[in-house]
Amino acid sequence: MDKIMLGHGGGGRLSQQLTSELFLKYFGNPVLNTLEDAAVLMLPQRKIAFTTDSYVVTPRFFPGGNIGKLAVCGTVNDLAMRGGEPLFLSVGFILEEGFSLTELEEIVQTMAEAAAAAGVQIVTGDTKVVGKGAADGVFINTAGIGVIDETLQISVSNAQPGDKVIISGTIGDHGMTILSLREGLSFKADLRSDCAPLNGLVKALSRFEQNIHVLRDPTRGGVASTLNEIAASSNVGMIINETSLPFKPQVKASCDLLGLDPLHLANEGKLIAVVANSVADEVLQVLRSHEYGKDACVIGEVTDGRRVALRTYIGSTRIIDIASGELLPRIC
């Protein structure tokens, strides 16, 4: 048994074997182990965050992570961006007939590690197998539940003029890493995906209570899209300083080479925080003392205009526009 067969999704003996020998081995916990039709959960608070996301990234393995790590971190981060403390995840696999079990085990193991690192439990799941050619190896869906601290008021529509815009680290690492792995794209740079769970970082910010106005992770569409979404939802503008934007030199150089705007590249372990000016310095200190926020910096501020503008290093300004061309397919 070294390849996925249609029977692994058939509900019979092979399905049971896969569940007990692989999924329970790595994901096992008292709730999941009962193998009931639905997990019954006890929540410590009444206000909850609930989200879902599907993962189809290609290639499945990349420096800094794999599709499994992404599937756990992505959903954990979406919960965290509403101030939710992630507690429970569901995992759904869609497997292609013939997919390597060794590869699946590596993905499952990484997911277990990522869940442990984020402090979440995988409490329910599902596996389907489709015929050869009907999917590309493995697709993963995760959904998550987190509980929300009632003192927080975090929303994409909550940015206010005068707020500071902060990013937790370097821009574009994930997107450029995936891009550099494309077959035949003959450049080798020291690139690594930033894929990481950000709930610890968000928890550290919770002490600032209602002074944290917006949190968002700039995944697909990159920083440019996220800033525009915040501005549009909050009916505000922004002015971002080009000289303040943090980039790894190899990411910047690769962007120049390919003619891409790093603000359009996906990130999987960064957050953008819009915070009250009065706490900006302190927020920065807290972020920088955290493993995933070492390179945090203020990149601009919220204005009462309507445009998201970049002040370039020569002193002119331009609009930060969202990407409309075909960016990479399947980056997450």
Binding site: Y313, I314, G315, S324, G325
Partner: protein, 351 residues
């Protein structure tokens, strides 16, 4: 002096010139830098920058877009090309629409990626639809040489490469535009060298400055062109850190080996003698036009699209009646709105 101070110094020097002057950039990357850094907003009103036919996607003729679409419709064939090309509207379809309809059209970043696809699909024909100026033509030549070395029998190229100098000549001969100097492209010049433009100064008394792609490179070149109004027109290399007088000999040699000059149709300009590159007889087994027969009807241009006039520098993008209303980057009617290097898209994005 840091970069910001240097920029300010250039701007102040440029402002000392009170004459109305028009300079044309003929490189898509220059168009992008000018728009991205809002250079028009920091220049005085008397200095106007005009975009010429510098975006390779934009100057590709509708007929050639239609031909790519016809190739995509050949059963079993994999058509590979650069990202911007798939969105350019042809007479009544685009490669993107063909892909939605089930044709196998794949976006690649280089010909090497297309070669890899050919290696992995030995039972299928893989065609690389190649556009670009002297900047990308050498890599296409190297790719074709690589295909021969690797004995790839299922790989061929639709070669729509163009060369720049003759297009500048045609623009000037038309007498439609009054320009006082050219910002000459850094990448193209890195391949062909600086002397290829000498005819501009000698025959047309119009100077040029080869410029890099940072805002200060462009500002510096503009200042050079202003100073030439006193000192006389000449071709100056302002991008010495990359561009050598004689160009890149290895790249030129590869181009000479694989290609030969041909007449080429430019959108908005028409057929320009000797301004295209075709695969020569020695390498014709890699010429998709030799390998396949496709029927392409007479092209239908979109009524009201001013891309042609914009490419010739006769109109500015926002002088087109469709600009930003019916024609946007999400729904482009002409190629200048598709490519990030197109002057309409650049105007629109950073307006």
């Amino acid at each position: 002096m840091n970069e910001a101070d240097l920029a300010q110094w250039f701007i102040n020097e440029i402002k000392k010139c009170k004459r109305p002057l028009v300079f044309m950039e003929v490189c898509g990357t220059h168009t992008m830098t000018i728009s991205r850094y809002g250079l028009r907003s920091v220049l005085p009103d008397n200095i106007r920058l005009l975009s010429g036919p510098g975006c390779p996607v934009c100057v590709t003729a509708t007929r050639d877009i239609d031909m790519g679409i016809a190739f995509a419709r050949i059963p079993g064939l994999i058509l590979t090309t650069f990202g911007d090309m798939i969105r350019v509207p042809g007479s009544n379809s685009s490669l993107l629409r063909e892909r939605v309809n089930g044709r196998d059209v794949r976006v690649v970043y280089s010909i090497l990626e297309a070669l890899e696809i050919a290696r992995q699909n030995p039972s299928r024909q893989v065609v690389f639809y190649s556009v670009g100026f002297e900047t990308t033509a050498p890599s296409t030549a190297f790719g074709i040489m690589e295909a021969k070395t690797a004995n790839l029998k299922n790989f061929s190229v639709i070669c729509i490469h163009k060369t720049l100098p003759n297009a500048l000549r045609v623009l000037l001969d038309s007498g439609e535009i009054g320009i006082n100097g050219f910002l000459l492209p850094g990448h193209v010049s890195a391949i062909i060298g600086v002397r290829a433009y000498d005819f501009l100064a000698k025959e047309y008394s119009i100077g040029g400055a080869v410029a890099g792609f940072e805002p200060n490179d462009i500002l510096s070149a503009i200042l050079t062109l202003i100073r030439q109004q006193q000192s006389g027109p000449m071709i100056e290399n302002e991008y010495r850190r990359v561009v050598k007088e004689a160009g890149n000999e290895a790249a030129l040699k590869a181009m000479q080996l694989v290609f030969r000059p041909c007449d080429s149709e430019w959108r908005g300009i028409g057929v320009i003698p000797g301004s295209g590159l075709m695969i020569n007889a020695d390498w014709q087994e890699y010429d998709a036009l030799q390998r396949f027969q496709v029927d392409v009807g007479e092209p239908v241009e979109h009524k009201g699209c001013a891309c042609g006039e914009i490419l010739r520098g006769v109109k500015l993008p926002d002088e087109c009646t469709m600009f930003g209303t019916v024609c946007t980057p999400e729904n482009p009617l002409g190629p200048c709105m598709v490519s990030g290097e197109g002057s309409c898209a650049a105007y629109y994005r950073y307006r």
